[in-house]
């Protein structure tokens, strides 16, 4: 628990990797870097428009908390109050300064920390021995900040490591110096080497994992989690402060393998600049000295093997304008570069040579440097602001009308044909209980395979749908699905499956297919009630060569009705229609009479009958469907509605049969 490697903010869950980029900002801390901090609502707008997504703002007694989501390409330099303060300065008149010029005065009586770095995966290792420390409760200012940020205060030594992390982004770690034997060695773990983490997880390590060790054993899993061996405890009087940088890929792999993701590991994964370690170390020592005057410390050990150096990228102003659609002048562009705190020189009227360092640019691979001009243009765009900075234009299409892929044309044509013949389209799930292609990580045991046929899905929903036929105003339901499947030969195809209930009056599927898709390839056939056919390849090579087909529908004004989980009831009513109501929309009238419980009225029969006096009488039969969203309806409830309907029909002069 005594470690910055533990989860800092409680809302950072180890398993949900999407939270990798969430960050809470406590506005008073911004004052460490800015001469003027705008009010929180202004901050919210500025950050949203020009930098990052703001999730939430919480007002507090001493300061506000801004919950934001740093973009992944800025997680190296902006997952800290320092980074956000720089952003705010770019987009406002506030001036940014890192006024912390902490000069450390080492005491020669304190032995410096012997460090040996054996792996290039540790890009920098700084350590300092601090003696005379005490385990004390943190000061009020620190506790207030932690309370606002949802962080737990432990003691001054540990709290300050966490504070420097959120202020500057650099993870720090304190070891109890008395428990560290000999030299601190940064090396790969031995196969099968054991370690117990601060939160009592027992780990067996392998040779891909970087560790911090002393002469005896592992002290910490580098960049991920501290160990029990040199844990700070109530008796600690001397600590070794570690301030280091580790390879982002290595930390990421170790975090994945061990299932431990911490605020420290997420900084290292995102390539926190090793160049900024010395400032963080000095910051910690200075803050601790303010809290505990009597501490003294050794000279700083700094093993810094491979500093990242800034590089220069040419940006063409013509290119900026071409990509953004703007007409910025050279001065416009250089003003923006200045706001972004970027150093540059003008090479020609059109070309700025921009110095790219750790701020704003997170270059992980040498070959990516050549794309940095686009990143600079991106920064220019967001300083301009997309709402105000990008001119409004008219859209000009590349051609008058586009084409569609063959399978899209065919699928939509078939949809029209089948719907005109009374079929209802459904869609079912792609993952099934049986198939050829299997998932490594299925979401459920019965959803392990990619479907090779539409049968399982469609058959699974046929019975339920048949029962629901009256709700659709139908006596029976024929359904179809058009979807992709993977064949046993690993080919992706678009298939059509049509199915209908096994009753004699039902539509003949073969006849339908013959009309809609003559000479088609039947891939599956179950008796007379299910046929699956091949429509087209779902090709590896995307080609548009067919005219689009417009689907026949008129659905602009659908008012969606939630599906009721309760059963429905039907009632039929038949009557001879009186002369005066012959022309009326009887269906709508009955629907009104039947009230809220009636979800559907359909006429299902109509005939004329010659009566005794020789006149013709018109008979009509209607089916009413009742259903509630709240309960199962009783016979009494439905019957009472039907009585009202009958009474009303009689009142119209009709003769109920």
């Amino acid at each position: 628990m005594m470690c910055v490697f533990c989860i800092v903010a409680t809302y950072v869950c180890q398993l949900n990797f999407n939270v990798l980029f969430f960050m809470k900002i406590y506005t008073p801390i911004l004052k460490n870097f800015l001469d003027a901090v705008p009010d929180t609502q202004t901050l919210k707008k500025i950050i949203t428009d020009h930098a990052f997504e703001v999730e939430e703002v919480t007002e507090g007694l001493y300061g506000d908390v801004i919950d934001l989501k740093v973009l992944p390409d800025r997680a190296h330099d902006a997952l800290s109050h320092r980074g956000i303060a720089r952003e705010i300065a770019t987009h406002t008149n506030a001036t940014y300064s890192d006024s912390i010029n902490d000069v450390l005065v080492p005491d020669t009586s304190v032995a410096s920390v012997p460090v040996r770095v054996e792996s290039p995966l540790c890009t920098r290792y700084m350590a300092v021995r601090i003696t005379g420390v005490k385990i004390t409760e943190s000061s009020t200012w620190l506790k207030e900040a932690f309370l606002a940020l949802g962080m737990r205060s432990i003691n001054t030594l540990v709290d300050l490591t966490n504070y420097v992390l959120i202020e500057r982004g650099q993870p720090l770690h304190v070891f109890d110096a008395k428990k560290v034997k000999g030299t601190i060695v940064v090396r790969m773990a031995h196969v099968g080497e054991k370690m117990t983490t601060l939160d009592d997880k027992y780990l067996t390590l392998d040779e891909s994992m970087l560790v911090i060790a002393d002469d005896e054993a592992v002290l910490a899993l580098a960049g991920v989690k501290g160990g029990k061996k040199a844990e700070v405890d109530a008796h600690t009087t001397e600590v070794i402060l570690e301030c280091a940088s580790f390879d982002s890929i290595s930390v990421r792999k170790t975090a994945f393998k061990t299932g431990i993701r911490t605020d420290a590991s997420k900084r290292f994964e995102n390539n926190y600049p090793s160049a900024w370690a010395d400032e963080a170390l000095a910051r910690y020592v200075t803050l601790l000295k303010c809290e505990q005057l009597e501490i003294i410390h050794s000279a700083v050990t700094d093993v810094y093997t491979n500093p990242r150096t800034p590089f220069i990228i040419d940006v063409s102003i013509a290119r900026v304008n071409s990509l953004l659609g703007t007409s910025l002048t050279q001065k416009d562009v250089t003003d923006i570069l200045t706001k972004l705190h970027l150093a540059f020189t003008l090479k020609t009227d059109d070309v700025c040579a921009v110095m790219c360092g750790d701020n704003l640019f997170n270059i992980r691979e040498e070959e990516d440097k050549k794309y940095t001009a686009y990143a600079i243009i991106g920064h220019i765009a967001r300083v301009l602001g997309y709402e105000k900075g990008i001119p409004k234009k008219d859209y000009i299409a590349l051609k008058e009308k586009g084409l569609v892929a063959h399978f899209i044309h065919e699928s939509d044509r078939i949809r029209n044909e089948l719907v005109a013949r009374g079929f209802v389209e459904v869609r079912t799930y792609h993952f099934q209980n049986e198939g050829v292609e299997e998932l490594e990580n299925p979401i459920a045991n019965d959803k392990k395979f990619i479907r090779e046929s539409l049968f399982e899905g469609l058959n699974g929903c046929l019975i339920g749908n048949l029962l629901n036929a009256p709700l659709l105003g139908k006596t029976t339901v024929s359904i179809f699905e058009i979807g992709t499947i993977i064949t046993r030969n690993n080919v992706e195809e678009v298939h059509l499956a049509i199915t209908r209930p096994a009753d004699k009056k039902a539509i003949n599927l073969k006849n339908v297919l013959h009309e809609v898709l003559p000479n088609c390839k039947i891939v599956n056939e179950y008796n007379e009630w299910f046929i699956e056919v091949y429509i087209a390849d779902h090709s590896d090579l995307p080609v548009a060569d067919s005219e689009p087909v417009s689907l026949m529908h008129s659905v602009e004004n659908v008012a969606w009705q939630s599906l009721s989980p309760y059963p429905f009831a039907t009632r039929d009513i038949a009557f001879f229609v009186s002369d005066e109501v012959k022309q009326k929309e009887l269906r709508d009238i009955i629907f009104l009479w039947a009230g809220a419980l009636c979800v559907r009225v359909d006429m299902f029969d109509e005939f004329e009958k010659k009566v005794e006096d020789g006149n013709l009488k018109l008979s009509r039969a209607y089916r009413l469907v009742f259903q509630s969203n709240e309960k199962t309806l009783t016979d009494e409830e439905v019957n009472s509605v039907m009585q009202n309907v009958e009474t009303e029909i009689r009142a119209l002069g009709c003769e109920v049969r």
Binding site: I408, D412, V419, L439, L472, E492, D602
Partner: protein
Amino acid sequence: MNTQGHLHPLSILINDITQVGTSLGFDVVDGPELESEKYNFDMLNIPSWHPARDMWDTFWVKTLAEKGRRVMRTHTSSVQPRYMESHTPPFAVMTPGKVFRYEATDATHEAQFFQLEGFMVGKDISVATMQAFFAQFFSKLFKKEINVRMRPSYFPFVEPGVEVDMSCFKCAGSGCNTCKHTGWIEIMGAGMIHPKVFDACGIDHNEWQGFAFGMGIDRLLMMKYGIDDVRLLYSGDVRVSAQF
């Protein structure tokens, strides 16, 4: 009784998108759903070691030795490199297609859903063109005047990247439940195609430039009609289609 059948609402919306897309000069295609890691991730500037891969919860498919690692595509963006490596610009293409995410399902999350990918490449296609296109596209799709606004965002395959909001198609900006009373709806991610993606597809990024966008179709459908549970769309229940 009723003799007319019913279309699935997703088919209707995808067809609407196709009609609008082709009328704006876009071709409409699709690529495979069982996709190689190469097209789904690598060619889109998402190398395996990159933390950005965490943005997608991926279904991995047991590997056939000769085919390399395969996934159920996590986005229709995979069609972009497939199309770009086999065609010469200028072009404008849309891909409405099924995608998959490894996640627990509930009323607003599904392991399978539809996404619309689109991209337009030419000599002078700019951020301003992109903005103009979005306004046209949504206005035609909703048959009313729709405004769009953009905010900075990040996707590995674009630079710069933006988040696109559209003015609420229900209340026209005055505030309603659909737009959570903000007047705006977050609708898509977009940006200028990353030069590294062009390079991977053999297209000279000094000569050609363009934008790409991605949008969830199910979510748009649910907002348009007020459908309350995404799982209903794949339930095979005719009571869903019957309302359309």
